[in-house]
Assembly symmetry: C2
Homo-oligomer: 143 residues x 2
């Protein structure tokens, strides 16, 4: 039985380090080429969303993440100019600082301290704000 | 630009009434034909997951629901024999008792008080347990 066509499923991850910095990539490809964005990507058929999230952070930033907390599901049909994508967003807090290494999909990857004042692609600034509330309860180390 | 093929996206809803009963449908179609299941279905391209959730409960049970709370995202590749489906599950609590009316997709729809002791299709018993914890904090009106 063929399944109906539904929106494409993606996952994005808000990775915090102990200094309250956030792992952001510089996008190489459109949309939002050159902008910061959260690491993430499309979920493969046959993998869970949690596995896809861990795989994407490893591929794009060379970092293995531990526990994931569900931040939310973002499904506005206009959130991605390529077509209707629905993203499942997770947050993860690293126990120690780690040096990231950009994968081939990204122009760079870095820990960003003043992420509140950066332009961030897609609806990722909103996702980040929601993750901050979930993980730090608004009590983060505000710079 | 064509989007990659990803798992099919569905939504399911745990609707409680003020008596702590749960709205369950009798499935007409396989898989799990004849079993209880949560109201839900595939998300259309162009609609949000919240809108899809409200639409499915209205279509299958004739009930308009209010506020939705995100219960979780369930993505085990084996959870649906038709293929890999990922469901976004919500919970909603009705302010008053309402009489449901089965849609054409269901063999029946009813308020079930002893839902803990019923066979429920898919992974919906787990979703229901997670929703109970989220909404009632385990302090439900245990029969």
């Amino acid at each position: 039985m063929a399944l109906p066509k539904t929106p494409a499923l993606t996952t994005d991850c808000v990775v915090f380090d102990p200094k309250f910095r956030v792992l952001l990539i510089r996008r190489k490809n459109e949309p939002f080429a050159g902008s910061y964005a959260l690491p993430g990507g499309f979920v493969d058929i046959g993998e869970t969303v949690e596995a896809a999230c861990r795989r994407e952070v490893l591929e794009e930033a060379g970092i293995e993440i531990g526990e994931l907390r569900l931040v939310g599901v973002y499904s506005d049909p206009k959130r991605d100019s390529r077509g209707h994508t629905v993203t499942v967003a997770f947050a993860s807090v690293l126990p120690a600082e780690m040096r990231p290494k950009a994968g081939s999909d990204a122009d760079g990857v870095e820990w960003v301290a003043d992420w509140r004042n950066q332009g961030i692609g897609f609806d990722h600034a909103r996702i980040l704000a929601d993750a901050e509330r979930l993980v730090w309860g608004g009590q983060g180390n505000d710079p």
